[in-house]
Symmetry: C2
Subunit: 327 residues, 2 copies
């Protein structure tokens, strides 16, 4: 299988590349070539048993090398994130909308339609605290990022119907625990209250302890992306979007899981109410009833405490090293 | 009020312009200027009591004159129709998607956000025969036109949230009776089985008599567009889309209404089954439960027989003249 990862330099793109390098296969097929595309040349995965080509460029004007002829699978993870798309409308439109059109056009030029796995987002929904969304819930986004993700799903479903490509869009929950540094996303604290105490650092909690959020681990997000790359899309019909089986957790549950892994660590979390942040994240749905994803074979989520343990096993040391370096 | 109609040369655009010229006002406000924009310079309405400016151009690169400074209301009716958007993907994307982005950018340049009334479509839904769709039904389009309309709604809702403009999107039913000539739209027969017999001409019916369709008269469509131009959008929140109160009619009911207006006219309708057409139109929803539209003050539909009478009163003679002329 010849695979391209657009956004291959990002947090999830690097994890998908690392998994492919480790496994050497996807589903029951061997990986024969990997192309990594991003704004800057992405780092290659370690010890890949297949050739890796790295390409830098603008996703809105995708260079042909980003999706070479005979590509079988495209992971379309390239995006401007929520805070940035909200701050700069034109940039969000260019990367998140024109970028997806550009991916569609690149796929149209191939000799056969590739599978395209697209990361949509829970941010494409409203609903708020206490909402449990069914698979057929309407997307009424409260931000430009969510709007652009919902549009990407529509574009890719139509392109699939027309036979340009064969898409699966996964509406990722808030991926937790994100490695690295805190960022300016409104959801940054969701990872922060686990990651920072595990590093021995203080963290601020801007919402109440009974605040609930729909999350998934990076491990499970990668599992879902790989499953989406090989599943039979026949039963999906016109609707190529999936709400994957994340887990709904309150802050209290998350801190309890943290203490189970590192007793007393939650003492480093300070309650510092921030109504502006609470207002934004309070609009996101807190739970889904992902019947369709289960039917389509997407793996159930591991228990919350495993999500904390996975961060310790996979990312804690690398994060510590990265944070110790300047910048 | 300074008003622009994009798609001012089309069937509905001309009807909106004619109504504004006749009334001289919109809601309880006087119309002070009208700009008509289309690919070719649109015809001016007769006896307009306000200045009318006509502009020709490409909606995807909207000339500044199409939406002059101080515009209060924009009717965004410019679109490539369903059969054309299906036959030519790039043209549909250019007009229906880039066109809407271009309208948003023109509105961003104005000193205050104008009301934008957008014609979305029942084609943005699937569902099929026997489905009655609630206001919160998801749009899973089965064609590129419907996809592009659903995307237009998302773009305009986000632009409204950001304060670039203040949008209302109306998902028009199949507008019946369309004046003029039969066209290549799969839905052409819905108007044809009434219009052609009233002209004394034969018509073909490609579906069964119990086939149901969600329709509205051109008169009521214009009423809804004008109401959308002046209603208070405050109660709409993030969701700027409305399923208006059309009527669900079977072919048998439509032919009965035709015979009530012109006894025996339905004898000119020949049953000529066309599985290809039946397959396309069979995917469209046949009824909505438009609670929200009623709450927002959109006028209820007149009885089916009035829809036939309205065509006779408003469009039969003009259609006869047009059809008698060459071309």
């Amino acid at each position: 299988m010849r695979i391209s990862i657009l956004g291959g330099g990002g947090f999830l793109g690097r994890k998908v590349a690392a998994r492919l390098a480790r496994d050497g296969r996807i589903g029951d097929r061997q990986v024969t070539a990997l192309t990594l595309f991003d704004i800057a040349e992405p780092p290659p995965p370690e010890d890949a048993p297949f050739p890796v080509r790295r390409v830098a460029g603008d996703v809105a004007e995708l260079p042909e090398a980003a999706i070479p002829p005979d590509t079988d699978i495209v992971f379309h993870l390239a995006a401007v994130v929520s805070a940035q798309a909200e701050a700069d409308y034109d940039l969000g439109r260019r990367v998140n909308l024109r970028g997806t059109d550009s991916v569609i056009d690149a796929c149209r030029r191939l000799s056969r339609p590739p599978r395209v796995v697209f990361t949509s987002s829970v941010a494409s929904f409203g609903g708020g605290q206490n909402a449990v969304l069914a698979d057929d819930a309407r997307q009424i986004p409260g931000n430009s990022y969510g709007t652009q993700k919902a549009i990407g799903e529509l574009l890719l479903a139509d392109a699939s119907r027309r036979g340009f490509l064969d898409a699966v869009s996964i509406r990722l929950p808030t991926v937790t625990v994100r490695p690295g540094r805190p960022n300016k996303a409104a959801s940054s604290f969701v990872s922060g209250i686990i990651r920072e105490p595990l590093l021995g650092l203080p963290a601020e909690l801007p919402v109440s302890d009974d605040f609930a959020v729909w999350i998934c681990s990076p491990r499970r997000a990668v599992d879902w992306l790989l499953h989406a790359a090989t599943l039979d899309t026949g039963p999906m019909g016109l609707d190529r979007s999936v709400n994957p089986p994340g887990i709904s957790a309150t802050i209290a549950h998350m801190l309890q899981a943290l203490d189970e892994v590192r007793p007393g660590a939650s003492k480093l979390v300070a309650r510092v109410a921030d109504p502006a942040i609470a207002d934004i994240v309070g609009g996101w749905p807190t739970a889904f009833d992902p019947v369709r994803a289960r039917t389509l074979g997407f793996a159930a989520h591991e228990p919350l405490v495993e999500l904390v343990r996975a961060f310790v096993a996979d990312d804690l040391e690398a994060t510590r090293r990265e944070r110790a370096s300047p910048g």
